[in-house]
C-alpha cells in the first residue's frame, strides 16, 4: 500500500467506478430486496428497498481488509463510538455478496449532509469526531493479518520517495516543458517544493518522531487515513458520522489531523489562529503532546499537493488556467507568502512547547 497520495476529489474517477458495477435484477434478488430506486451517490449506489435505505459498494479491497474493517467498526462500537457506518450482514452471516466475479457489500444508509469547509461549526464537529475516533480506536487487536496496513515510522521513507519524484519532475519540466505558458512558474514551484520537502525531512529528523511512533503503536490504535470533508456526514439530529473507513491504517494519529488541516488550509488559507483553534478542539478531547506538534510541523511543511499541478500540466498536458490554483503555485503570490509565514510560526511554536 502506498504511503499516501494527495489528490483533490475526482468526480470522473467516481463515475468510472460506478460504471464498473454489474447491476441487474438477479443481483438484487440475491440481496433479498425489492428495489424501489437506485441512485448513484459519490462512489456508491443508494438503494431504496422494501427494507429501507442502503448503500451498495463494490469491493476494491482484499477479502481480509473488509473483515478487518468490520472488526474496526465493531471495536469502535464496543468502546462507545457508534458514529461509523454499519456493514450489513447477509442472511448467511456473510458481509460480502459475490456476483459475476466481483464482491459487493452493503452499509446502512445515513441521511445527512456533507461537512462544509465554510461552516466553522461543521469543522469543529469534524475535528472533535476525529479525536473521539482516535481515542476509541485504542486497544485494537485483530485475528487477521494487518501487517500490510502498518505505516508506523514510514513518514521519512514516504517523504524521501516523494522528494525523489519532485526532483525527477523538475528535470522532466526543464526538458519537456519548453515553450509552454506556465512552465516557468511550475518549474519555480517544483523548486520550492523540493526545498520544502527537504525542510520537512529535516524537521522530522529533529523531532521525536520515533518516540511518537512508539507511543502511538503502544496504544494499539488505528487511523482513518483519508479523513477529509467528503468522509464526514452530519445528520439532522446534530450527530457527526465518519465514513470511508476502507483506507484505514495503523499509523500515528497526527497523520489524520495533519491531512485534514492541510487540505482545509489549502482551501481556506493558512491562518495560524484558526489552526490553533482547531488543534484546540482536538486537544480538548484527546490531549496532544510536544511530539505531536513537531510531527504536525513537519507534515505541514511537506508539499503534499505537488503532484496535482505537475500531473495536470506535464502528464495530462493541460494548462493551469484557474486563477486561484495559479496563485497557489506562484511563489510570489500572497497565498504563498502567508503559507510561508504560517509554517515558520508553527515550527517555532512546536519548538517552544
Amino acid at each position: 500500500m502506498s504511503f499516501e497520495i494527495f489528490t483533490e476529489e475526482d468526480r470522473q474517477k467516481e463515475r468510472e467506478l460506478l460504471t464498473s458495477y454489474d447491476l441487474d435484477v438477479r443481483f438484487f434478488d440475491k440481496l433479498g430486496f425489492k428495489i424501489k430506486q437506485i441512485v448513484p451517490e459519490r462512489n456508491c449506489f443508494r438503494l431504496e428497498t422494501n427494507k429501507g435505505f442502503y448503500c451498495l459498494k463494490k469491493m476494491n479491497l482484499s477479502d481480509e481488509d473488509i473483515y478487518i474493517m468490520q472488526e474496526l467498526t465493531m471495536h469502535l462500537n464496543k468502546n462507545g463510538f457508534m458514529n461509523t457506518f454499519e456493514i450489513v450482514q447477509q442472511s448467511n452471516n456473510e458481509i460480502l455478496v459475490p456476483y459475476e466475479g466481483n464482491q459487493y457489500y452493503l452499509t446502512k444508509w445515513m441521511d445527512g449532509r456533507e461537512s462544509d469547509a465554510l461552516n466553522l461549526l461543521d469543522i469543529k464537529a469534524a475535528i472533535e469526531a476525529l479525536a473521539k475516533f482516535h481515542r476509541h480506536s485504542e486497544g485494537f487487536e485483530s485475528k487477521l493479518n494487518t501487517g500490510h496496513r502498518k505505516l508506523y515510522g514510514s513518514w521519512k521513507q514516504g517523504f524521501s520517495q516523494k522528494l525523489a519524484e519532485i526532483k525527477a519532475a523538475k528535470k522532466a519540466m526543464l526538458v519537456g516543458g519548453k515553450g509552454k505558458k506556465n512552465t516557468e512558474i511550475i518549474t519555480h514551484y517544483l523548486e520550492s517544493c523540493e526545498k520544502a520537502a527537504v525542510q520537512a525531512l529535516k524537521l522530522l529528523d529533529k523531532s521525536s518522531y520515533n518516540g511518537l511512533n512508539a507511543r502511538d503503536e503502544g496504544r494499539k490504535g488505528f487511523i482513518h487515513h483519508d479523513y477529509g470533508l467528503h468522509n464526514i456526514l452530519h445528520t439532522f439530529d446534530n450527530e457527526t458520522f465518519i465514513g470511508g473507513l476502507e483506507s484505514f491504517a495503523f499509523d500515528v494519529r497526527m497523520h489524520d489531523l495533519g491531512y485534514f488541516l492541510f487540505r482545509l488550509m489549502r482551501k481556506k488559507g493558512w491562518e495560524l489562529d484558526r489552526v490553533f483553534d482547531m488543534i484546540g478542539y482536538y486537544d480538548e478531547i484527546y490531549k496532544l503532546e510536544k511530539e505531536d506538534y513537531e510531527a504536525l510541523a513537519a507534515y505541514f511543511n511537506f508539499p503534499h499537493d505537488y503532484k496535482q499541478f505537475y500531473r495536470l500540466y506535464y502528464i495530462e498536458d493541460k494548462e493551469v488556467e484557474d486563477l486561484e490554483e495559479l496563485e497557489k503555485i506562484d511563489m510570489e503570490s500572497e497565498y504563498s507568502q502567508i503559507k510561508k509565514d504560517f509554517l515558520i510560526k508553527f515550527e517555532r511554536y512546536s519548538e517552544l512547547l
Binding site: E48, D111, D116, N119, F236, N238, L323
Partner: protein, 340 residues
C-alpha cells in the same frame, strides 16, 4: 405552446398529466407562472423544475411540513399516483402545484410591510424542527456566510491589485476601479460584524432547531389572495439557514422613497412574533451591507467563468451600483434599531 414552453406538445402533456396524476384535463394555457392546467380537481400549474429529483423532494416535503405545522398559505407540490413529485418529459423534470389566485404583493405602506414580515415570522415558526425525508437532498447554507464575505473582500482587493499592472483599462475596469475600495470596505465590514456579533451563535441555534428558511423571501414571492392574506410562493429554493438571511432579503426588496419606514415596520412586526435581539439585528445588517449584486457582476468579469459581453456587464455593473446605493436607508434603520 409558445414562450418558455415551446417544446411542449399539448396532447402529450394532457396524456401525461392524466395518466400520472389521475386528473381529467379540461383545458390549458401558458402563463407567466408556468402552464395553467384546468382539471376536474381545480386549476394546477405545470412548471419545469431546474433542480434534481432529490432536491425537489426536499422542497416538496418542506411544503408538506410547513402546511402540517399550520402555515397553510402556500401551494404544495402534487404527488403522482406512484408517489413521485416529478414527471419526466422531453428529458426534463416537471412539477405540478395547485394554482393560487392572487396578485403580486405591493409593499408600499408600512402596513403591507408588516403583513409580509408577520407572514415570514409565522413561516419561520412553522419551519422549525424540519427533518428532511430519507433520500432527499437538503440545501444547507448554515455557517457559510461569514467566511464567504471574508473571501469576497479578499477577492475585491485582489482584482484591484491586478488592475494596477494592467495597461489598457476597459470601461468595466475603470468603473470597477472607481468603486472597488468602497465596496471592499462594505464587504469586509459585513464580515467583521458577523464575526463580532455572534453569527456563529445564531448558526448553532439554527442547527439545533433545524430551522428551514425560504431563501427568496422578497415581494415577488408573495401574493395577496382574495381574502387579503399573504400567500407564499417560490419555496423551491428553501434551505437550512438562519432566519436573519430571509429578513435581510425582505428588507432589501423594499423599493420607493419610504424604504426606511417600511423596514422599521417590518422589523417591528416580525419581532412581535419572534423576538429579534441585538445580535440578530447586527447579523441582518451584515447581510444587507454586503454588496451582493456588485460582487456577483465583478466575479463574472474577473472570476473563473468568461462567457459574457463587455457592454452587457458594464450595464449590469452600473445597475448594481445604483441598487447597492439604495440600501442606505434600510441600513440606517438597522443601525438605529438598538435604540428603538
Amino acid at each position: 405552446m409558445s414562450g418558455t414552453y415551446t417544446r411542449i406538445k399539448r396532447h402529450e402533456v394532457v396524456e401525461l398529466v392524466e395518466s400520472e396524476y389521475g386528473l381529467k384535463v379540461i383545458s390549458m394555457h401558458e402563463s407567466d407562472k408556468g402552464i395553467l392546467i384546468y382539471t376536474d380537481c381545480g386549476i394546477k400549474v405545470l412548471k419545469k423544475a431546474k433542480r434534481d429529483e432529490a432536491k425537489i423532494q426536499f422542497a416538496a416535503f418542506a411544503y408538506e411540513y410547513l402546511i402540517e405545522q399550520g402555515f397553510c398559505n402556500m401551494s404544495r407540490i402534487n404527488k403522482t399516483q406512484s408517489g413521485s413529485y416529478t414527471i419526466n418529459y422531453n428529458n426534463s423534470k416537471y412539477i405540478i402545484q395547485d394554482y393560487a389566485r392572487g396578485k403580486i404583493m405591493e409593499i408600499k405602506t408600512p402596513e403591507a410591510a408588516a403583513k409580509a414580515a408577520e407572514a415570514l415570522a409565522l413561516l419561520h415558526k412553522a419551519g422549525e424542527s424540519f427533518i428532511p425525508p430519507q433520500g432527499s437532498h437538503a440545501r444547507v447554507d448554515w455557517g457559510k456566510w461569514m467566511d464567504k464575505f471574508k473571501a469576497n473582500s479578499i477577492n475585491i482587493r485582489k482584482y484591484s491589485k491586478n488592475l494596477q499592472n494592467k495597461k489598457d483599462l476597459s470601461r468595466f475596469d475603470k468603473l470597477y476601479a472607481k468603486h472597488a475600495e468602497g465596496y471592499y470596505e462594505k464587504m469586509f465590514n459585513a464580515y467583521l460584524i458577523m464575526r463580532n456579533f455572534g453569527y456563529l451563535e445564531k448558526v448553532q441555534q439554527s442547527m439545533k432547531q433545524n430551522q428551514l428558511i425560504h431563501s427568496e423571501y422578497r415581494r415577488h414571492s408573495l401574493l395577496l389572495n382574495d381574502k387579503g392574506e399573504v400567500f407564499v410562493t417560490n419555496l423551491e429554493n428553501c434551505a437550512y439557514d438562519i432566519r436573519e438571511a430571509d429578513i435581510a432579503t425582505l428588507l432589501e426588496s423594499f423599493t420607493g422613497k419610504n424604504k426606511a419606514e417600511l423596514a422599521a415596520a417590518a422589523l417591528k412586526a416580525y419581532s412581535a412574533i419572534i423576538k429579534l435581539d441585538r445580535r440578530s439585528i447586527k447579523v441582518i445588517q451584515a447581510f444587507v451591507l454586503q454588496p451582493k449584486r456588485f460582487y456577483k457582476v465583478i466575479e463574472r468579469y474577473y472570476g473563473r467563468k468568461k462567457n459574457f459581453t463587455e457592454t452587457e456587464l458594464v450595464n449590469k455593473l452600473e445597475r448594481a451600483i445604483k441598487k447597492e446605493a439604495r440600501k442606505a436607508a434600510v441600513l440606517e434603520v438597522l443601525e438605529d434599531y438598538r435604540t428603538l
